[in-house]
């Protein structure tokens, strides 16, 4: 089984180092080109989540998505809308390693980070997070 190891990343110099993965997000129902971001590995998230500004730039209408019963977050319950999206996980050169195909991904207003959660991503991998060495690995 292939194992891919990634260093932690900081968004700015004195940021906390985090397990961020290069991702390419697209809207299969739109001709708009995909958008690159870095996504946080979030073992506490039940599924994947996208920020509103990213999905609107891909042509999704935020409030016209599928609504779940409720979405619990660290700051309480939030309204989320599901939009069909494809998330490609890349290496540092942009080569696609894995693809989450056309899954309905929940979008939360105010979220500032793509989150890769359990149900549609982490459940398929062995994740090893090595904080002492500031790196993490994924084995499919």
């Amino acid at each position: 089984m292939p194992v891919h190891t990634f260093p932690f990343s900081r968004r700015f110099p004195d940021d906390f180092p985090r397990p961020l993965l290069p991702v390419r997000v697209s809207n299969p129902a739109s001709s708009k080109p995909p958008i690159n971001e870095r996504a946080l590995i979030d073992t506490g998230a039940d599924c994947c989540f996208l920020p509103r500004d990213l999905t609107e730039a891909l042509g999704h209408d935020f409030a016209k998505g599928v609504t779940p019963e409720s979405v619990g977050t660290g700051s309480g319950t939030s309204q989320a809308y599901g939009h069909t999206s494809t998330i490609e996980i890349c290496d540092s050169s942009g080569t696609v390693l894995w693809t989450i195909r056309s899954a309905p991904v929940y979008v939360i207003d105010g979220l500032d980070q793509v989150l890769l959660g359990v149900e549609d991503f982490l459940a398929s991998f062995i994740l090893t997070v090595d904080y002492s060495n500031q790196q993490f690995s994924l084995e499919s």
């Binding site: 260093p7 932690f8 990343s9 900081r10 968004r11 700015f12 110099p13 004195d14 940021d15 906390f16 180092p17 290069p22 390419r24 080109p33 995909p34 958008i35 690159n36 971001e37 870095r38 946080l40 979030d42 506490g44 998230a45 920020p51 500004d53 990213l54 609107e56 730039a57 977050t73 660290g74 700051s75 890349c90 290496d91 540092s92 050169s93 942009g94 500032d112 980070q113 989150l115 002492s132 060495n133 500031q134 790196q135």
Partner: protein, 64 residues
Amino acid sequence: MSTPQVLVTQRKYMGKIVALRSFSDNTVVASGKDYSEVLDRARAKGVESPVMVRVPAKKTVCCY
């Protein structure tokens, strides 16, 4: 031990949305407050697939 990479090294971009040249080149090609405007400006400069980063306004303790 791996050394964490720093995506945005200059503090003048804190609180802004930043477009970087690529996953392997963290050169800032556009920045601003509006996500789509920053994305469009990066593409107008010939960077078709920039990497978008939201830089917090200050050091933030996050709880997702």
